[in-house]
């Protein structure tokens, strides 16, 4: 009997320490995945995949979606072998010009494609370009000139062999054509396209022009361009490895310089997505400050050809727009993941309220894996503000974790204290105190202090003369220790293995409800454990009477005491799980434990009230 009681309490102690950790285990276990995943399409609730494998078919798809129904005034064809030009031309797609930008390289099909595409749009030509309806940018586009002129198109050509000159010329044309005061200019390093690409989405949306610098040199063409038209704000989108500090200082000459840059490309894209300069509303400001806004993201693999990004980027040149992000092909890059978590909207009244984010994935599953897409979809799913769903840590859960840590600390301290200073306390009393710490945390520690303060160590076993209110507290905790821990354990196990559910008819249908069942069984278990095991064991040293006599004498008392505790604990658990939270929590979520630990405190209060008359009438002892 004694041994059984000992093992059972050991089991309860271990359980209360380890079971909350199952939430952690659930959070990190990812489950079984079939080897091959069969799908009929590759889109999900919060993502759409632009499933084209190569940049030229991506370009066809996107241009068709974006421009076929709106007839642009002119078309920009840009050398598909020169990223600085292709990037610079993205600004043509923004207001007020709204021109499609076609990447072009030498293959024959590409010439035909370009010409067919232009013909389907039949652009009228823009006065700003002296009536030209096709802008050819970059040397290789010259090969199109004859063909286009033969078909009655009026072309305007930018084919300076110096790339810096050509980029500057594009800016010049852009500014003149859009008749804009030049408020801002983007500066990118000429060395690595990955650090320049995040600018593309912004340029296609807002038309900010770009200029190129080398790492340690401002080329003459760029210098001239900056001299000609002043820029009030210069945004250097490059980390130190791309544009040095001395260049940053040199640029001060022409305007207010701000650097946005990270050495890690994914982090670099994220920092630009977060960036905002209120003076001219430059930057996406994709932060919690603008949590009321919906976000579209363009997500591609960092390893991919830059052309696939710029081809896809055209989708973001019109009514849909948003930051460009990088990931690695088969794992969502940590920086991007963190950013996506931070932009996920919370809902307050109903998940239909929005805003709703949407991520466009560039390329097929070999380019950005389906697993990455699934992860992005999950992260971007709306969450209840108070609950934060699976894997999210809400404020409540954070507090619950702190509470759990405190409970553990309380239990450890109490055990040391009991072992070294209060050795005269009965063994099962000690175990009971340990369990009290685990179910009540700091409140348990406070009770412990109240119960034993001021008594020197020579006080005999079970002879602590206390004021009545402390006697009641002590008596209540006597039931709480084993009772509450048993209830929590049984409730957890029932939920873990699937709660029973019976569909009943009539007004008592709720008896078949899983919550009622859980309450019923955990209550009965706690009652049984207390009546038949722990109360006789705790009283054994006090009243050396026969086992069944002890059981018979105390059953009713335990029943009253236990019921008083359960009333508070169970109704609090019910209210919190069924009414307080929008979705009933599963036992594998920390928030389930939050409701349990909260309910335990309520149970202590009602238990205290219920135990008062028992102690007053001498049915329960509060001096142990």
């Amino acid at each position: 009997m004694k041994r059984f009681g000992l093992y059972l309490s050991l089991l309860l102690i271990f359980f209360l320490i380890l079971a909350p950790l199952i939430a952690v285990k659930e959070a990190i276990s990812t489950g079984k995945i079939p080897r091959v995943i069969d799908r009929l399409h590759l889109n999900t609730g919060n993502t759409t995949r632009l499933a084209e494998q190569d940049w030229s078919s991506m370009q066809q798809l996107v241009l068709k979606q974006r421009y076929d129904s709106i007839q642009p005034d002119a078309v920009v064809v840009v050398d598909g072998d020169s990223w600085p030009l292709a990037l610079a031309c993205q600004s043509f797609s923004a207001k007020p010009l709204k021109l499609p930008v076609i990447l072009f390289n030498h293959t024959e099909t590409s010439i035909n494609e370009v010409i067919t595409k232009i013909n389907t749009w039949s652009p009228r030509g823009l006065n700003e370009f002296n009536g030209a309806d096709v802008l050819l940018v970059g040397q290789n586009t010259l090969s199109l000139q004859n063909e286009l002129q033969q078909r009655g198109h009026n072309t305007s050509v930018f084919s300076n062999p110096d790339i810096f000159e050509n980029v500057a010329a594009v800016r010049d044309t852009l500014l003149k054509a859009s008749n804009k005061k030049n408020q801002a200019v983007l500066i990118v390093g000429s060395d690595n396209v990955k650090y320049a690409l995040p600018a593309a989405a912004w340029m296609a949306h807002r038309g900010t022009p770009v200029l190129l610098v080398e790492r340690d040199r401002v080329p003459d063409a760029t210098r001239r361009a900056l001299n000609e038209i002043d820029a009030e704000n210069i945004y250097v989108l490059a980390p130190l490895s791309q544009v040095s500090n001395s260049i940053e200082n040199e640029l001060q000459e022409w305007g207010q310089v701000t650097r946005i840059g990270e050495e890690d490309p994914a982090a670099h894209a994220v920092s630009f997505a977060r960036f905002y300069d209120a003076t001219n509303r430059f930057g996406w400001q994709a932060t919690q400050v603008t949590a009321e806004a919906a976000r579209h993201f363009l997500l591609g693999s960092i390893k991919e050809d830059w052309r696939i990004f710029l081809a896809g980027n055209q989708l973001f040149s019109g009514p849909n727009f948003g930051p460009l992000l990088f990931t690695s092909a088969d794992k969502l890059t940590a920086q991007t993941e963190k950013f996506l978590w931070s932009t996920t909207p919370d809902w307050w009244v109903t998940p239909a309220e929005g805003p709703f984010n949407h991520t466009w994935v560039l390329g097929g599953p070999t380019q950005v894996s389906y697993a990455v897409q699934g992860r992005v979809d999950f992260i971007q799913e709306m969450r209840d503000y108070l609950d934060q769903g699976d894997q999210g840590i809400s404020g409540i859960e954070a507090l619950a974790l702190v509470w759990f840590a405190l409970s553990l600390a309380c239990a450890i301290w109490t055990w040391f204290h009991l072992s070294t200073r209060l050795t005269q306390v009965a063994p099962f009393m000690k175990l009971s105190w340990l369990l009290v710490m685990l179910v009540l945390g700091p409140v348990g520690l406070w009770s412990y202090y109240i119960c034993y303060r001021g008594y020197n160590h020579q006080v005999a076993l079970g002879e602590f003369p206390r004021p009545l209110w402390v006697q009641v507290l002590s008596a209540t905790l006597g039931t709480v220790g084993f009772g509450m821990s048993t209830m929590v354990t049984v409730a957890f196990l029932l939920a873990y293995f699937g709660l029973p559910l019976f569909i009943l008819q009539g007004p008592l249908f709720w008896l078949g409800s899983p919550m009622t069942q859980s309450i019923l069984w955990s209550y009965l278990a706690a009652l049984a454990v207390n009546i038949f095991i722990f109360v006789p064991l705790m009283l054994r040293s006090k009243e050396p009477s026969a086992y069944w006599d002890t059981v018979r004498d105390n059953a009713l008392t335990v029943f009253f005491s236990m019921t008083a505790i359960s009333i508070g604990m169970m109704s609090a658990m019910w209210l919190m799980q069924m009414r307080g939270l929008t979705v009933m929590p599963e036992e594998e979520n920390i928030i389930w434990w939050a409701t349990v630990w909260g309910a335990n405190i309520i149970g202590l209060i009602t238990g205290y009230i219920g135990n008062w008359p028992l102690v007053v009438r001498g049915r329960k002892i509060g001096t142990m």
Partner: protein, 406 residues
Amino acid sequence: MDFRRRMNYIRWAFGVVTALSVLLLLAILFYRPDYYKAKDVTNPAPVQITQNTTRVPGEDVFQVSAAISQIIYPATFADNKPNAVILVPQGDWRRALVAANVIHFPVDAPILYIKENEIPDVIKQEIKRLDPGGLFVDRNTKAYIVGSVGQRVKDELRAMKINFRQFEAANVYELAALIDQYRATINSDHTDMVMIAADNAPEFSIFSASWTAHMGNPTFFVSANEVPEATKRALKRRAQDAFIYLLGNEKVISPEIAEELGRYGHVQRIPGKDAFGMSTGFAGYADVGPNFGYWVAKTIRMFGWGIAEAGHNFIFVNPAQPEMAVPAGILSHRGKHGPMLLVQDNTIPEPVVRYLKIVQPTYLGSQEQLFNFGWVIGSPSVISEQVQIQANNLLQVKMPVSKTKE
């Protein structure tokens, strides 16, 4: 003393377990779970997408139901899988609409169509892909069968190690009442807000599936000239008078029926002259007010989408194919929650166009934009490409007027 020694063991064991759990917690800080185990995925034919719409493809109801489930549950790790699947024998749209009442939390399961005597391959594959986790409030049940099925279906499920619960009733009215009772059992309470649909007019009620999936309010059926006994019984089961919303104009649900329903609660009719108008009327409808108060607390009544502003999502379905439409209700359960709107295969009817123009977003700014989004359910033979493009144009952000058109 033997006992003292045991207490000593306990002391040590306690210390060890505590130390272990602290270590475990610390280790977890440095652990990044592998959410990327889904390596190989089939590469299906691309579907028609536009800037603000995505088509959910499929030639028949089986494929479409699987395709819809694939939108909501990527199933690349445990937390983006459903708890269960809802298997509905194909052949009666009313059965599907009733099954939509199972979708909502805590069940969290998609509707998949099966044949009465067989689970089609595409659905079997989908169940395998989803690998449902089991519903913790119902003995970790992994499948719900709504209606009667042959023994073979059950055997196939057992072979797949899918434990199931079957809802079986004499008719669809009873079935609706049974599933309502099931939900009430989970919640220990019947929802006071219910919808009433005519059993012969799918176009007036299929769009309620999205609301049912979103909020868990059931739909019960009435026939042309009477309120069936099962429906009466279900209405009476509420703890108090129900709030009853009629899905149908006076031709579909007669004033006499409406009056009879008045015995069981407060009856209101969703606005709309025809079915298309009613789908938009329902999308804009919101009824809020008291439900139940008890001195120190209150629960409120909040029924209807009430969407009259930008920043929302819509599910476009063709009512000519009611069974194809109903599973799409789950698109309002997760992801882009939003009402279902009715369109025809080759045109968007005038009331729907008018509504979409009301909720169309205007351009706000680079940092603070709201977008609308639409799902198009079925292959182009169900809803044509033109309709999708037209829907896209009605959903997209209205850019400021400048010299060029947009």
